[in-house]
């Protein structure tokens, strides 16, 4: 039966190696043809693959063969003497007889490789788009800061984590004074510019780990972890002083700040607290800070 049908005629590479050294004991013609190798005594099968494939063999193929006795449909690359490397699909299994051997089937897979390359590109493209959408869905278009939704989500997580470690947080609610008048007197374009610049200014004056967002029309919020070098009150006063000193779009812009500080309050409690304090700052005549340590009541 076998004498009639030659293994050399199979249009696929057939190889038998030892398990331990992976020394080639038998290989059909097709294997030598595709790998552009000459039969050589003592040659090891690893030599026909490129460097990346060697990592895949050592990290996936061999552990699978040793653990479960087979591996299927692993794509590897033959390093040939010609310029173009040849993608191949490898199936292998361990056969235990007098000595442990590996039977390999190595099929060329150029077309499958092209298809996979297209799929990889498609997936990378989708991944990039998803990332862009993710960023867009979290960003306030006008100022480039986080939007309210992203702020609530990130701040909630941060404070939940912080509470476990007894961290103290400051919640600043910052509202531009008389913003409606700015819009009415100077137009919406100027109003938008004022919002943009106040946002930029807050961004450049807050720290990398602060969470800063535009959470409403002319309302900004910042959550910061209280650390030693600058108290939240100092920070708020600095914001007020610097803004008073600077004209934006030729207009004198001031803000009111409600500041709630706590190492116990949840995000919702801080938010509500800062909102009430901001309201008090407005009632007391605007352009000022009203703050409260919520843990001292």
């Amino acid at each position: 039966m076998t004498a009639e049908f030659a293994l050399d005629d199979f249009p696929t590479g057939l190889v038998v190696t030892t398990l331990e050294d992976r020394e080639i004991l038998f290989a059909n013609q097709y294997f030598y043809q595709v790998s552009q190798q000459e039969p050589q005594s003592g040659a090891r099968i690893g030599l026909v693959f490129n460097a990346a494939s060697k990592i895949v063999i050592e990290s996936f193929v061999m552990p699978m063969l040793l653990h479960q006795g087979y591996c299927a449909e692993i794509q590897l690359t033959l390093e040939t003497k010609a310029a173009e490397p040849v993608p191949v699909l490898v199936n292998a299994r361990v056969v235990e007889g007098e000595r442990k051997l590996i039977y390999w089937v190595i099929s060329t897979a150029q077309q499958r490789d092209s298809l996979y390359q297209e799929l990889v590109n498609l997936r990378n493209d989708l991944e990039q788009r998803a990332e862009k959408l993710e960023v867009l869905s979290q960003t306030d278009e006008l100022t480039g800061l986080l939007n309210r939704r992203a702020f609530v989500s990130r701040a909630t997580t941060l404070i939940k984590q912080g509470l476990r470690h007894k961290m103290s947080y400051s919640f600043f609610m910052i509202d531009i004074d008389n913003f409606k008048q700015i819009n009415d007197q100077h137009g919406h374009d100027v109003g938008d510019n004022v919002l943009h610049q106040v946002g930029q200014w807050l961004a450049s004056n807050s720290r990398a780990n602060d969470i800063l967002a535009r959470i409403g029309g002319e309302e900004f919020a910042i959550i910061t972890l209280n650390q030693n070098h600058e108290s939240p009150i100092q920070f708020a006063e600095r914001v007020l002083t610097l803004l008073r000193a600077e004209k934006i779009q030729g207009i004198e812009v001031t803000v009111s700040v409600g500041l709630a500080v706590s190492a116990k309050a949840s995000f919702e409690q801080l938010y509500k607290g800062a909102d009430i304090l901001l309201y008090e700052a407005k009632n007391q005549g605007r352009n000022r800070l009203v703050w409260r340590d919520m843990d001292k009541d």
Binding site: A51, K54, I55, V56, S59, F60, R123
Partner: protein, 277 residues
């Protein structure tokens, strides 16, 4: 940091054996804790063996996976630190395969008081060539090609693509497919591990070692050449180098008896551990 109770489930921690001294075995890139099953029978009578899967491998809890955390070997080292801390392990012998040798070294430097010694099976501190002084074995192009090959060997396309197309890339990105397969080339977890492993360079960490180290080197290893074994030995204080009469990168799977023998001799040469779990 995870809540204490989470670590055991998160890392699929398994404890076997009844010995006095604790041996924690860390699998390498590509597989999971099952790769230790050939070696553990050789050591189970003398040691209490702690096995685990890194988050993102094997039957770990994939909800705990973070691309950012596990983009560096420090993230994987934190898994070892968390397990040692959670179980309050003392005098631990850390056994790491391949990249886990370096991960163990990082962990040992964070919790030196808990560590007795390190056993490194086929280690390499850096897979990239930095000629003329250091030949890690691979060029940057080889490793870029590796990432490409891993993409083409990924089986669970559908599970991965579906949430991505739905604009839900963050959540539930990995299915249980990982738990069921011994090796995984999942495009997020395995590729991230590949990048952390093969593009890193931890040579500068070796001289900082302060624990006894056994280096087990294979005669012929496509991933860790004899040069690398020598390099590790020269630059790691308190290290002993043993070249095992064998070929391949998985000595603990192919030659468990020899590996266990070298570990026993190494342990006999050191003062014994004082306490247990």
């Amino acid at each position: 940091m995870p809540a204490n109770d989470d670590v055991i489930r998160r890392n699929n921690v398994q404890i076997i054996g009844s010995g006095q001294q604790v041996m924690l075995m860390a699998h390498g890139f590509g597989c999971n804790q099952l790769m230790w099953r050939f070696l553990t029978p050789e050591l189970i009578n003398q040691y209490k063996i702690v096995l685990f899967d890194y988050v993102g491998s094997g039957a770990s809890n994939l909800e705990a996976y973070s691309r950012q955390k596990y983009a560096d070997l420090e993230g994987y080292a934190q898994d070892i630190i968390d397990i040692c801390t959670r179980l309050d392990l003392q005098n631990v012998v850390l056994v790491g395969h391949s990249v886990s040798s370096i991960i163990s070294l990082i962990a040992a430097q964070h919790i030196p008081q808990r560590i007795h010694s390190l056993v490194m099976v086929c280690p390499s501190p850096c897979f990239l060539n930095h000629p003329p002084d250091y030949l890690g074995g691979f060029n940057r192009e080889d490793l870029t090609e590796l990432i490409d090959l891993m993409d083409k060997n990924y089986i669970g396309w559908a599970q991965y693509l579906a949430p991505l197309v739905a604009g839900n890339a963050d959540t539930n990105f990995v299915s249980n497919e990982l738990a069921e397969s011994f090796c995984s080339t999942n495009p997020i977890t395995a590729k991230n591990f590949a990048k952390a492993t093969f593009f890193s360079d931890y040579r500068s960490l070796l001289p900082l070692n302060n624990h006894p180290v056994l280096l087990l080197q294979s005669q012929t290893d496509a991933l860790a050449s004899l040069f690398i074994g020598d390099y590790m030995h020269k630059h790691t204080p308190k290290s002993v180098l043993q070249v095992v009469e064998a070929k391949g990168h998985c000595l603990h799977m192919t030659h468990p008896q020899q590996v266990a023998g070298h570990i026993q001799l190494f342990m006999q040469s050191l003062p014994p551990g004082k306490s247990t779990v």
